[in-house]
Symmetry: C2
Subunit: 113 residues, 2 copies
């Protein structure tokens, strides 16, 4: 098998750096494709294709305005990523005691040095 499709979920979709840039760019306000092209210095077809992926996974929303397609970031779709990363927050934010960590892990490996 090959890699999972970029459209399979938000994790795969945001793995591409340009798509993250686009999401950043569209976070504060909706913008037409041409603005993204100019703002990020990408080829127009490339932007359209990235937007297609982002749209398929719900990371952006679109509405038509004349001949312009206005895209904006749907922050809600980023939440699963945030939630997942958040589960590791405890390991760098406030450090948990090793004893409690070990107890929660239920490891059978000796925790020796």
């Amino acid at each position: 098998m090959a890699r999972a499709a970029t459209t399979s979920d938000a994790f795969n979709a945001v793995a591409e750096p340009r798509r993250r840039e686009i999401l950043n760019y569209l976070a504060l306000a909706e913008r037409p494709v041409g603005d993204i092209v100019a703002g990020l210095g990408l080829e127009q077809p490339s932007v359209s294709k990235h937007l297609r992926v982002l749209r398929d996974v719900g990371l952006v929303r679109v509405r038509r305005n004349g001949r312009h397609m206005l895209y904006r970031t749907n922050a809600e779709a980023i939440r699963p990523l945030h939630d997942w990363t958040k589960t590791f927050e405890r390991f760098w934010g406030h450090q948990l005691s090793r004893i409690k960590e070990r107890a929660e892990a239920g490891s059978k490996e000796p925790d020796k040095e």
Copy 2:
């Protein structure tokens, strides 16, 4: 061009669901490969290969103990993901107070909508 390598950064590495499972599994305590194989029900070579990717991007650390290789999640490497998703936090309206939010972010920006 093809997609960026899974080993190019943490974003690409965690796009694979199994790798996220492995990171979850290794978050609380270091474990040998065999535990992951049994715990997650994956093929051994598959686990080794996933660990190789995770290791290449610094998402896991290893040490040898006899014939066992003990892996553990390096939560610090997940931080960039968390940081990026965090920039969208304000758009979905969590329960954290804006004051605390600003303090944690260390932001100098006005906290406007």
